[in-house]
Point group: C2
Chain length 286, copies 2
C-alpha cells in the first residue's frame, strides 16, 4: 500500500526487478556512521529484503520494547494514522457517531477504539460475520455492519448503515473508497466530516468505482479530506503518549496479524488487499 501511495504499483516494481518498497524494524549489523552501532534497533524503509544498505539519515533509531511489534502497529504508522487522522480530519465531538471501514484492520480497529474513548458512538464496517463479531465483542464497537452481506446491493448497505448508526454518520473514517464510501456518504448527517485515509478497494483493480453521492455534499455541507499521517507529525509525541496510556491501561486492545518468512511477503500483501487480515499485518523475516 505504501508502495502504491508512492506512485508505483507492486506489480510494476516486481516486474522491473526492483526491490519492492516496504518499511520495517531492523537491526544494524554493520555501520560506517558513528551514530549507529551494530545491535541498534532502527525503523527504516528497508524494502523487501533480508539485508539493506541504507544511508544513516534514512534510519530512525528506536528503543526496544515488548512486544516489539507494537512499534509497527499501535505506536507506528497505523496507530498515528488512526489517532491523528481521526482528530484532524474527522474532528469528532462527544456524542457524535463515527463510522469506520476496514474496521477489523490495523487502522480501523484503532479508530473505533479511540473514537469510543473520545465519547462517540462507533460503527464498524468489516467483511464477514467473524470480523463483525470481533468488532463488537472485543474492540468495543457499538455496532458492526458486514458489507459482504450487501455485495452489489448499495441500497441494502445504505439501509443497514442507517439502522446501525441511527440515522447516519457525523464522521466517516474511510479506508476503502468505492461503493462503501458512496453508501456512507449518501447517509451522512449535515455538517459531517469524511477523513479519506485510503482506498484499498481501488488499489488492486481496474477502473475505480464512480462515487455518485457527491451531489448531496452541497446541501449537507459535508467536508471530505485526504491526508497522510506525516502531515500531522508535529503532534506525533503527544499522540504516542496518549496511545501508550490507553494501551498500558488496557483501554485499547491491539490486534496484530504476524506472518513468518520473507517468502510469504507477496502472499501477505495480496491477502491484505483481499482483506484477510485482522489487525496490523506484519511479516517477521528474521
Amino acid at each position: 500500500m505504501r508502495a502504491w501511495m508512492m506512485g508505483q504499483t507492486y506489480r510494476a516494481a516486481l516486474s522491473a526487478g526492483e526491490v519492492m518498497a516496504g518499511s520495517g524494524l531492523a537491526e544494524v549489523v554493520e555501520s560506517r556512521d558513528p551514530a549507529f552501532a551494530p545491535g541498534d534497533l532502527v525503523y527504516a524503509e528497508t524494502g523487501w529484503q533480508r539485508l539493506a544498505v541504507l544511508p544513516a539519515n534514512r534510519l530512525q533509531k528506536v528503543a526496544p520494547m515488548a512486544p516489539l511489534t507494537h512499534l509497527l502497529s499501535v505506536y507506528g504508522v497505523a496507530g498515528l494514522t488512526a489517532y491523528l487522522g481521526l482528530k484532524e480530519c474527522g474532528r469528532p465531538k462527544v456524542g457524535e457517531t463515527v463510522v469506520v471501514s476496514a474496521a477489523a484492520g490495523a487502522v480501523g480497529g484503532l479508530v473505533g477504539q479511540i473514537a469510543k474513548l473520545w465519547g462517540c458512538r462507533t460503527v464498524g464496517l468489516a467483511g464477514g460475520p467473524a470480523k463483525c463479531a470481533l468488532l463488537t465483542s472485543e474492540l468495543g464497537f457499538d455496532a458492526a455492519v458486514d458489507y459482504k452481506a450487501y455485495a452489489g446491493d448499495m441500497p441494502g448497505l445504505y439501509q443497514a448503515l442507517q439502522e446501525a448508526t441511527g440515522g447516519g454518520a457525523d464522521v466517516y473514517f474511510d479506508n476503502v473508497g468505492g461503493e462503501i464510501l458512496d453508501a456512507v456518504l449518501f447517509g451522512m448527517k449535515p455538517f459531517g466530516r469524511v477523513a479519506l485515509c485510503g482506498a484499498v478497494s481501488v488499489y488492486d483493480g481496474g477502473v475505480p468505482y464512480g462515487v455518485r453521492g457527491l451531489g448531496g455534499m452541497v446541501s449537507k455541507r459535508i467536508a471530505m479530506r485526504g491526508f497522510i499521517v506525516s502531515d500531522f507529525y508535529d503532534q506525533r509525541e503527544a499522540a504516542l503518549a496518549e496511545l501508550k496510556g490507553w494501551v498500558e491501561s488496557g483501554q485499547i486492545k491491539v490486534r496484530e496479524d504476524v506472518m513468518e518468512g520473507l517468502e510469504n511477503l507477496p502472499a501477505a500483501l495480496i491477502g491484505l488487499l483481499a482483506g484477510d487480515n485482522v489487525g496490523k499485518r506484519l511479516v517477521r523475516i528474521a
Copy 2:
C-alpha cells in the same frame, strides 16, 4: 435550483399544483405589520406568482438602488456565494491557480473576477466558444476551457485543463459536479481545495455520474467541502462592502441575463439548467 436544494424538484412541485419556490425582489402593496408600508422594497421567498401573502418575519426590507437587479446578482445570493464560498472553502493564496466551472454563470463569473483581485491565476470552464471568449475578453480570466469540445472525452478535458492551468488547480470552485469535477480532481495539485457549490449537471438528470478520481485525494491531500452561503452570513456585511467597492470602481463587471414575464419562468429555469444564460438569470414579472 433553490427548490432542488430544499429537497423538492420543480417537477414534483409543479405536478402537485404547489406554488413553485423562488425568491425575488417585490414591492409591498398591503401590510398589516407596522414595520412594512405599501411601496417598501423587500427581498423574499415569494414563489412563482404575481402576488404573495407572506408573514412579516419572512421579508427583508432593502434600500432601492440602481440598477435594482444588482440586489439579486452581485449583492444577492450569487455575489455572496462567490465571495464567501471562495474565501472559506477555496482559501486561495496569492499566486495560486483557481479553476471555476459554469464560469459564465452568475456565481462563476464573479468567482473568477474575485480570485483575480485576490492575486490568483484564473481558469474558467464554460460551454461553447462564445462564452469562453467572454471569460477572457470581458471578465479577465487568464484562460478558458470549452468543456463542450470534450463531450465524452474525459482524458481530453483533463489534458486541456492541465495545459490551461499549467499543471493543475490549487483551488476548484465547482458549480457543476459530474464529469467536469472528475477531470479537475484528477489534475489537482497537492493540498488543493475544492469548494462544492452546486452540481447543476446532476440536478436535471437520472442516475448521477460516478466520480472516479477520489482515490487521488488521499495521496494529494485534497480537501473538498460542500457549503451553502448562509453558513457564512456572519461575514455578510464585510463581503458586501468589498463587493460594492469593486463594482463601483469597475474592477468587477456584473453580467445579468434578464428575461421578461411570469409565463417565461419555466423556460428560464429549464434554460438555466441547460446553461443558456450568461451571468445571473433573472425574470422580471412586474
